[in-house]
């Protein structure tokens, strides 16, 4: 069944078969989530008794989940195209009258790709963390949180309705909070965790309101029901839902204006950054938009908003990445920018959904690779993150350098590497469908080339600028192993597009990509993109590579650099637009409460008290004066009686 939009595009509705009909491995779908969840439970409840082997259990559950996902994927490959979406009903979750929401799991070509990415990259990060966190006394707890993170993300992508998705959504928020603030003894980490949590809650307002709108408009939160009835709903309602979903996606995926938490989130241990940026968390927003294609296709205004937000973010993140000296923050800026590319593709509708997911997967590979590589560098440099104190590390850490270089070539879109295929398609589609966004995306690619080259040059090339007590060394094989695997994936990720496999694979979910006229052959777009990237790389070579790099950041820089160093004043904007007015409002309310509300009562009480103080004086302690007042009272009563009787 297809859903037709105003401009004639066709979107398939969600129409899964039951897992009873599917049988086999699809019946084990629940285990994919249950395994890491069980791992987290055992590790958290088991306490210190599990310290000795906790990290192995955590890794084993993640790997087990990956094996199951692989089996599901293979099972799906063997099925007819129309029967690849399978739903597994676990139990009735919410049952109010004839209104039920089931805890249903849906696996289809879209979510199975996410399963593989989350559990696959997640497992590699688990393995890496065994080495990275070896000397941390709370390693077992770290693995419990990692497992929780993976389980929540799996719930998010496997749920068949928005309520279950919201459960995973909140679980991801919780796990990210726990992990960003993992080194809670550092005030900056605690503050960063709180910041991520609060900004995510702002996005969650959008999600929960969208959920309420779904119930009101469709009487259901199920993808199946909503997609089947979407064409019957008013465009106003769908546009409202689209904007609310976009707000939620902005919070989770760190898109402007809710981007400020992502750079501070670097306070967490580096494997967490890799997990957040590659496999879990920030990809959730892209998943949400692609999954809700039946809403966005019917709400063109919301779709345009997605494009605008994405375009702003991809340039915003790229500019930040150019000026950061902290290696992790430079990579974080690049993530913002790359997620912007995915959102841009998702905002382009039927033309872009598949490419958004394609870029999401390749980005998952090379960004996890580079973050883990950055962690390896920090490991060798006594946890210093300042690239101005790096330099010439390619000899000291050959494996890290080689794997990082693969990620670098992938992200700038060097021809043949995974990022080339995915980003090139997004830029091409954007240029045809929305030239303004397309030009911005092309510019962003050039800036990407600049900041990534700068990062490479400052870290691995040039002169040694190490601090005196630093003796860089290669990391243990538990850490380099995952790096090699991810480097291979970064290089080879492009095979997913071999023979248009990924677009064909996703077409039962996101629709066939309509033919569009290319004004020039596709190869021209690729050449232009590569040329722009080459300009960026060359600029970095002349501005960074050929000059001496001072160990303290120079202060006589352009206003753009200053702005980028300050995250383009994202914090200042939040401070001025939200925090300060909020503080003023609460201050005013507090004053109102203290003066007017409290004042009314304290004045009343003090008046009553004052009268009491005065009346106390009547109690003189002299019996005779009491007797006199009794007499007076009697006389008064008598007079009153006399008056009444007369």
């Amino acid at each position: 069944m297809l859903l037709f939009t105003a401009d004639g595009h066709a979107i398939p509705v969600v129409d899964p078969v039951g897992s009873g009909d599917a049988g086999g491995v699809f019946g084990l779908l629940w285990l994919v989530i249950a395994l890491p969840l069980l791992g987290a439970t055992i590790l958290l409840l088991g306490g210190r008794r599990t310290d000795a082997w906790g990290h192995w259990l955590g890794t084993a559950t993640a790997v087990g989940s990956f094996v199951l996902s692989l089996l599901v994927f293979i099972g799906m490959l063997g099925r007819e195209e129309g029967e690849r979406a399978v739903v597994q009903h676990l139990w009735d979750w919410v049952a109010v009258g004839d209104y039920t929401v089931g805890l249903d799991l849906l696996v289809d070509p879209l979510s199975v790709l996410f399963l593989l990415l989350i559990t696959g990259v997640g497992s590699l990060i688990h393995v890496y963390s065994i080495g990275y966190m070896e000397h941390d006394p709370r390693r077992r707890r770290f693995f419990a949180y990692l497992n929780l993170f993976v389980a929540a993300m799996l719930m998010l992508v496997l749920s068949e309705n928005y309520l279950g998705l919201f459960l995973g959504w909140e679980g991801v928020g919780l796990a990210s909070y726990l992990l960003i603030g993992f080194w809670q003894h550092k005030p900056s980490a605690a503050a960063a965790a709180k910041k991520a949590f609060v900004i995510n809650r702002v996005g969650d307002i959008g999600m929960s309101l969208a959920l309420a709108m779904f119930f009101v408009t469709f009487g259901s939160a199920s993808f199946t029901v909503i997609s089947a009835n979407a064409s019957g709903a008013s465009e106003g309602a769908l546009t409202a839902i689209g904007f609310l979903l976009l707000l939620g996606a902005c919070g989770k995926s760190a898109q402007v204006p809710l981007q400020a938490w992502l750079l501070d989130a670097m306070e967490g241990p580096t494997p967490v950054s890799a997990l957040i940026h590659a496999a879990t968390m920030v990809t959730a927003g892209v998943y949400l938009v692609v999954r809700s294609n039946f809403v966005f296709e019917l709400a063109p205004a919301a779709q345009t908003a997605v494009v605008v937000v994405a375009t702003v973010t991809l340039l915003w993140g790229a500019v930040i990445g150019c000026a950061k000296d902290d290696i992790k923050k430079a990579l974080a800026g690049s993530t913002m920018s790359q997620i912007g590319y995915m959102m841009l593709a998702a905002g382009l509708g039927v033309y872009g959904y598949a490419f958004a997911i394609f870029h999401l997967i390749t980005h998952g590979f090379f960004k996890a690779n580079m973050f883990l590589g950055a962690g390896s560098v920090m490991h060798g440099m006594n946890d210093d993150v300042d690239m101005r104190r790096y330099g010439a590390l390619r000899k000291a850490m050959p494996v890290t350098f080689a794997t990082f270089a693969m990620g670098y070539l992938a992200i700038i879109g060097f021809p043949g590497f995974s990022g080339f295929w995915s980003k090139d398609k997004i830029i091409e589609t954007a240029l045809v469908e929305n030239p303004i966004a397309g030009v911005c995306a092309l510019l962003g690619a050039g800036v990407t080339g600049f900041y990534m080259t700068r990062l490479m040059l400052m870290t691995f090339f040039g002169e040694k600028r190490w601090k005196d007590d630093v003796h860089p060394h290669e990391s243990p094989s538990l850490m380099t192993g995952p790096l090699v695997a991810l480097a291979a994936l970064s290089v080879l990720g492009g095979v997913l597009y071999l023979g248009h496999w990924i677009t064909d694979w996703l077409s039962p979910v996101v629709g066939e990509i309509p033919e569009h006229e290319l004004p020039v052959p596709a190869i021209v777009f690729s050449i232009v993109t590569v040329a722009v990237v080459a300009v960026g790389v060359a600029a970095a070579w002349f501005l960074v590579g050929k000059r001496e790099i001072p160990t303290t950041p120079p202060s006589d820089v352009s206003f753009v650099t200053k702005a980028a160093r300050a995250d383009i004043y994202g914090d200042a904007i939040n401070e001025g637009l939200v925090v300060e007015p909020g503080r003023r409002l609460t201050g005013a309310l507090l004053t109102f409460d203290r003066t007017v509300v409290d004042g009314t009562f304290t004045t009343g009480a003090s008046v009553t008290g004052g009268i009491g103080q005065g009346l106390r004086r009547v109690q003189t302690g002299y019996v005779r004066s009491y007797a006199l007042s009794v007499l007076g009272g009697v006389l008064l009563v008598l007079v009153a009686l006399a008056v009444v009787n007369l």
């Binding site: 004086r617 002299y622 019996v623 005779r624």
Partner: protein
């Protein structure tokens, strides 16, 4: 035939003397006696009215007043005694500690 006016007049005079005594005298014993005087003035009025109406209700009430007065004397004198022992004074104005 039963003109009770003189009795009532006497009762009123006695009551007035009693109440003026309560208000003006400081000696606790005297005050106490004045209270008794007021009670007895009331008794006189009750009995006189009972006589006028020709029934016993007023007389019964007078008996009650006597009983209560007797009990009150017991308690009152005990209190006066105690105050005198502790403070060496029978003046009601001296016993003015219980106040604001």
């Amino acid at each position: 035939m039963n003109d009770i006016t003189p009795y009532i007049v006497l009762s009123s005079i006695l009551f007035t003397i009693g109440s003026v005594g309560v208000l003006t005298r400081r000696n606790a014993i005297v005050v106490f006696m004045c209270v008794e005087l007021m009670l007895n003035a009331c008794n006189l009025a009750l009995v006189a009215f009972a006589r006028q109406h020709g029934d016993l209700e007023g007389q019964v009430a007078a008996f009650f007043v006597m009983v209560v007065a007797a009990a009150e004397v017991v308690v009152g004198l005990a209190i006066i005694m105690t105050i005198f022992r502790t403070r060496r004074s029978a003046s009601v104005d001296d016993a003015s500690l219980l106040k604001y």
